[in-house]
Subunit: 873 residues, 2 copies
């Protein structure tokens, strides 16, 4: 009943049901919250129900809420259906006032405990209900500790606590507020405050970042208090049933003795390790181990537990599926399959592409010359370099300037989430592995180093001090969340290798997915990486990138400057052996897998220097001309000027108003067929060579920018003739197909498919033309705004726009296959590596997706998840 | 049976059927021609059939083919199903040889006639069958005339003719050929030659120009000869049943006494007028008048007749619907309705948009200062200026350089059609109103002046002489085909007014057509012209053109250079009253009709000077700076430089890689809403004003470049608020809609229609994006080639590409109307004035088309024809 009771309430109820030790209580439903947020009022029937349940609780516990003999105290805790850790509010010790605090003191014979609990209530109530700043209270605690010469809040004496309470009440006065002495009033406004915290800024931000619907609301659990702050036989703690950092199967917990509630999570004192608990409170420790085991079996997943030990008795306060690092997520999922808890389909569905992506995050490539500035806890793996920034506001500003950032804080709170989401990594002075910074970093898949006690962060001065050295905003550091170090300056990073568990998972993926996964690779090196990452072929090899080498570009330019066919052929003959060498390497690397080679696509002017460069060179030479007297030198300059003029004229002739829509792709191929002819000859020659070396070759020749079937028809006729000649008596099989990247090609796909063995969606250009966006112009000018303001739901260059571009793709698939049943259809646009796009491609029945070599694992996982979730093909 | 017998054969058969006097004969079918062209052989069964019919002809006439007593002579004439005047070959006098010529001489007692006929056969046979050049024979005639001191070929004596025949046979010898003496052989190769002439270069060109299918083939009529060259009681002539130049209902004929065949059409002698025939051969004249009347009634159209008078007996050799000038075509069609021959639907269907277009051709605007170079026959109306050119080859070359040309020839033949098609007008020294030049000019709708006897065209020297003056290629002249003059240099031209008959016809069109016709008008002046031409509203008023005036562009620039909203608003406030004035004028002119005003569309940099200009100005100022000593002047230059630098920076910021797909249209409107707000305020303010003056106003506000419904939704919400405020308590009705010019808008039309009262297809941009063509780049670089080589069937910027762009339009109409049943849908791209596009728009159910003001009559006619041919709406 998570939807109605929230994660916390449902967890408590479920734990009670399976007879784990939880304190008694009841939960107000999320529906009540939604109702409250709509009307702004607690319905009288709801209040009556709460009172009924409170009575029942009094009866069960034998205590009385507000009673001066044996007072019942409760916690009022938030809990949404989808976990939003730390985002909403909780108030403990509700029911304490000037009278009941005395009763509690008498009853427990522990005055210090009673007043510690009371000051906590006053503080939490002030913060949560009255929005008084946390710092106001913390300042007073700090003063009290200084005054009393103690380091921890647990060392403050009863008298000191009573003074602190007075000071707290003065803070209330400063804000013209009063702490309500009526326990019923406390309860009522505490419930309302928790309801309202659903709509706090930080909660909204979190929901936005995590795609959680705004309409859910939070439940409110009202639970009898148990106390971890009753002395040194009491404690409060959190535990993960497995290591959330690496997934190892051993309990991972932290606790604080004589502490309450969020003290551990908030990183106020540095917590103690679980092995100490085993020594100090062996009974409670055994209870924890037993409960963890029971819960993992029950929920079939790693659990994140909150517990309290009250005078040696172990209580569970909460359980939920534990957040974990990407590495841990994969290991846990695979281990759970091996342990027989879940099947491998479920393991695949549990690992989101984002998780796997994190696993593929870069790592510092140490070379020994790094300057290590400090070491803390390796809270979230990966590494990132960036400029130091000290606040969320500033981080957001700098992020707009495309700065890479490392957010540096004493500790982080929910208010920092906005800044964290725009930073590349985090560094905190305080906090442990379960601190806010650590949890959020893992969830975001960003590196974090926390609890670096050797450094001091001064927010007022905006400095980070380490010994005598001071660092400020603008200085660059690198955080290594994998080993807990942080370094001065930027370092070189290394792509993470896939863990053995991830390899296992990806193999399972391959056994389910119906979509093929190929790579976009422009060099033989990229092709090799693609194979290592599991690509089953090349979906796009862009041949133009092969002409950019220093020697080649000169030949290419000479070819472009030629005015006769004979000259062009001469230079193309020089390029031929180079192309043959490229293709040979590709085909050999992809032994047994298809390789789609796209013939020359970009406009010719891309191979020439730009006009401004030439003009400025001409200008310089002219200046020189004026200062030159010597005849030989003069001749030399004049000769150069004449060459530059010819070059300038060529550049001007090739100049275009809208090059994206200009003279390129097959339009060039039809005007200068000799270029494509050279390329096809090279492909066939390479294929013969590789085949003779005993490899299996599957070359596919792809024509770019086809918009009318006649373009493909004429080129195919012409180029197949060339291929036939090049093959001679050798038997070379190949496919002949086309990019589908022009809207008209989608609309007339039935006709184009008559001349194509395959289609490959070029969704970059298709998106540009379908939207009428020039990507280079749009991103800087209006597209970011469009996405930010919600005019567009997502960036269509990252995820295929299903409504528009996707509709054209669907049309192309249907019409193309109508004419040519065996048509092979894939995607090679950048969106081909995007999980949501891969789901879409699976749904419309593509044969494969092609992504960058580094995205191949993501694509394999996404394709499997798509099939498991949606079926098809 | 035109398809099988060809126009000529069917005409002869039909005339015989209704008992008009035609010589006996038979026709070989077009099917036989198709068969021959496929196999290259005359089938033996076909030849046997021809011989059978020849025997029958011998029996009817009592003559014998090849007989030395009473020889049968025949003409072998081509005749396609669709008239291709002068394009294919004809041979007369077949059956004459050294023996039969004597028999003919004896029989007719007219030796001169017999040898004249014989030399004609030898000449025609040489030209047609053996492809010996016409000039070879003409040169010999010219020499003979000079030698004998005569001017016309009809003055050559029998002896001279016999000598000429000898010389002709020598020409044969020169080409190692022989004239066949066997009449059967003559007949056989003559039939084959006519078959082959279907595939002559000139015939192919003509078919291409006139969209005649290549597969039809020509029929061959074999007809007993009748002779117009038997003396002064014989003649040959052509007649139109009405004046083909202006359509007046009176017979229009030319003839030559003692002449044969094509002498009149070829313009060899200047022919005589019909009133002379009435005097000289009244009987034949009466027969002609009677036949003309019968034929017009029978065919319900103006006829073009060929006749021969043999010794006073009138024979009809051919009848067909007469080619006519545009003016005549309209007058004849309207007159035929009034005379009860046809109904007005048929009149509309007979007038193609091309004909009406010709009527709208420009005329010379005389101001008295023109230098008239000469006068000839006004053979085809309209006027054109251009550079003199003397040959087809040279004309084709110059046309590639976009030169405007006037083709000047002694006379034109079918070989000149290619040159005529790339020239703007024609001028010939010889020939009459039915000469080749005149007929082709009228068909092409181009001006022509023919038969200018005062001038001499020398092809060898490439000169045009008039008295002492010599004109050469490169000199510019103007031909006025309406009054027959030609003038020195270029003159100003005036758009033709629509004739009263055309007005009548267009009214009939308005009563049938279902498509509305609006105009694209950017200025109030254009709006007025549009109204005069019958536009029912404005389909597109581009507001950006209103900012280009000298004063306005300065304000516009200041607005663009502003860095704050306050500054932008200040300048927009200055533009507001100017926009109000523009819109007031528009709305007043279009009283009672809708006016669609499109808000600002182009990218802002279009309003700024271009980068090169600014850079060169900066360069100049820097040079000046070096030479300036005076301090005040220095300050001045430095100030200017600083301003230019700011301007340069703005221009650079606005620079785009692909401006067509860039920051423009509603993308600008969403980023700087204040611009659209000013425009909407101006529209509503103008509307209030014009309404208060008692006019009916129907303003429609149009948003450009919408690709996602959210763009329209947000702008509509925002701008309707502005409109409400601007209207205050006034009741101003308006529509709010969008251009549909982005493929995505078509695909998601159902969603966009939720926020649109109307759609207007911007087919220029829609074509650019659907094809991925940048029009400015494509036309010069590959589009012309694509059309020429048949990769594309037509230029998609002239005629909507139905297969691709049209498919998107259909989708948009269907989806849009599904959401919004009352959606008004039109087209405002340039193709909106193209007849074939208008047919398409009618078919897919648009509400209106919008065309340039001058194209409105064409649109009215095309819309009516579309409805009459296809129905719909």
């Amino acid at each position: 009943m998570v939807d109605i009771l929230g994660g916390k309430g449902a967890g408590l109820a479920e734990m009670a049901r399976i007879r784990l030790n939880v304190p008694p209580g009841f939960t107000v439903s999320t529906e009540a919250c939604v109702e409250y947020l709509k009307t702004g009022k607690v319905k009288e029937t709801l209040w009556a129900e709460i009172l009924d349940h409170l009575s029942a609780l009094e009866k069960t516990s034998g205590k009385k809420f507000g009673g001066t003999q044996n007072p019942l105290l409760v916690s009022v805790r938030s809990g949404a259906a989808i976990s939003m850790p730390g985002m909403m509010d909780t108030i403990l010790n509700v029911g304490l006032n000037d009278h009941t605090v005395k009763a509690l003191s008498d009853l427990t014979n522990n005055e210090r405990f009673a007043y510690d609990s009371y000051r906590r209530l006053i503080q939490m109530f002030g913060e949560v209900v009255l929005s008084i700043s946390h710092d106001e209270f913390e300042e007073k605690i700090s003063e009290a500790k200084k005054r009393n010469g103690v380091r921890g809040d647990n060392e403050l004496s009863t008298t000191a606590l009573k003074d602190l309470i007075k000071e707290y009440l003065e803070i209330y006065g400063k804000f013209r507020e009063k702490f309500p002495q009526d326990p019923m009033m406390q309860l009522r406004v505490a419930v309302e405050a928790v309801f309202k915290s659903w709509n706090s800024e930080r909660a909204k931000t979190y929901r936005q970042l995590n795609d959680i619907p705004e309409t859910l609301g939070t439940a409110v659990s009202v639970v009898s208090m148990v106390f971890g702050n009753m002395g040194d036989d009491s404690a409060t703690g959190v535990a993960f049933t497995r290591d959330p950092n690496n997934g190892e199967k051993k309990i991972f917990a932290e606790y604080l003795t004589n502490a309450q509630g969020e003290d551990v999570v908030a990183g106020i004192r540095t917590p103690r390790e679980i092995k100490d608990l085993q020594k100090e409170m062996p009974h409670a420790y055994n209870e924890l181990i037993k409960s963890a085991d029971t819960l993992e079996k029950h929920y079939r997943d790693m659990q994140d537990i909150e517990f309290t030990i009250e005078k040696g008795t172990f209580f569970l306060l909460q359980t939920r599926n534990g957040k974990r690092s990407a590495k841990a997520a994969v290991k846990v999922a695979v281990d759970l399959v091996n342990e027989g808890f879940i099947d491998n389909k479920e393991a695949i569905l549990r690992i989101t592409p984002q998780v796997l992506d994190t696993l593929l995050h870069p790592q510092v490539k140490y070379n020994g010359s790094e300057r290590v500035l400090g070491k803390g806890l390796a809270a979230s793996p990966g590494a990132a370099s960036g400029t130091i920034v000290f606040s969320s506001e500033r981080a957001v500003e700098l992020a707009k300037e495309k700065k890479k950032l490392v957010l540096v804080r004493p500790e982080t709170t929910a208010d920092d989430v906005r800044g964290m989401s725009v930073s590349q990594g985090f560094l905190t002075q305080k906090g442990g592995m379960t601190s806010h910074a650590a949890v959020v970093a893992r969830a975001m898949g960003k590196p974090a180093v926390v609890g670096v006690e050797s450094m001091t962060v001064n927010l007022r001065e905006q400095t980070l001090r380490i010994g005598d050295e001071v660092y400020r905003e603008g200085d660059t550091i690198t955080v290594d969340g994998t080993n807990g170090q942080f370094l001065l300056g930027e370092t070189s990073l290394e792509t993470a290798s896939i863990t053995p568990e991830a390899q296992v998972l990806l193999k399972w993926c391959d056994s389910y997915r119906k979509l093929g996964v190929r790579a976009n690779a422009n060099t033989p090196l990229e092709a090799r990486i693609a194979r290592e990452n599991g690509a089953e072929g090349i979906g796009l090899a862009r041949t133009e990138r092969m002409f950019l080498g220093n020697e080649r570009i000169q030949i290419m330019r000479a070819m472009i400057m030629s005015t006769t066919l004979a000259d062009r052929l001469k230079y193309l003959d020089q390029l031929l052996p180079m192309q043959v060498a490229d293709f040979t390497e590709f085909l050999r690397t992809m032994d047994g897998y298809p390789v789609i080679i796209r013939l020359l696509d970009p406009p010719l002017h891309e191979f020439l220097p730009n006009k401004e460069e030439i003009l400025s060179e001409i200008f310089d030479l002219k200046l020189k001309l004026g200062n030159t007297k010597e005849s030989k030198e003069l001749d030399d300059i004049i000769g150069k000027l004449s060459d530059l003029r010819t070059l300038l004229q060529t550049v001007k002739n090739l100049e275009e108003f809208n090059p994206m829509l200009g003279f390129r792709g097959c339009r060039l191929g039809l005007s200068y067929p000799e270029i494509y002819e050279m390329q096809v000859k090279a492909i066939i020659t390479a294929a013969i060579k590789v085949k003779e070396q005993g490899h299996t070759i599957l070359p596919e020749i792809m024509i770019p920018l086809v918009g009318h079937m006649n373009e493909l028809k004429r080129l195919r006729e012409r180029l197949e003739e060339v291929a036939r000649k090049a093959a001679g008596d050798k038997d070379i099989d190949y496919k002949f197909g086309t990019m589908i990247e022009i809207p008209r090609a989608c609309i007339t796909a039935d006709k184009i498919a008559e001349f194509a063995d395959f289609f490959s969606f070029g969704t970059n250009d298709l998106t540009q033309m379908t939207f009428g966006y020039s990507r280079d112009d749009a991103e800087g000018k209006f597209l970011a705004n469009y996405v930010e303001e919600g005019i567009l739901p997502t960036d269509p260059f990252a995820t295929v726009d299903e409504e528009g571009v996707g509709e054209l793709m669907k049309m192309a698939v249907e019409r193309g296959r109508k004419t040519n049943r065996n048509l092979e259809v894939g995607i090679c646009g950048e969106q081909g590596g995007d999980p949501s796009t891969i789901h879409f491609c699976n749904r419309i029945g593509l044969d494969y997706v092609s992504a960058s070599p580094y995205r191949i694992p993501i694509a394999r996982l996404s394709a499997a998840r798509a099939f498991l979730e949606d079926g098809k093909r």
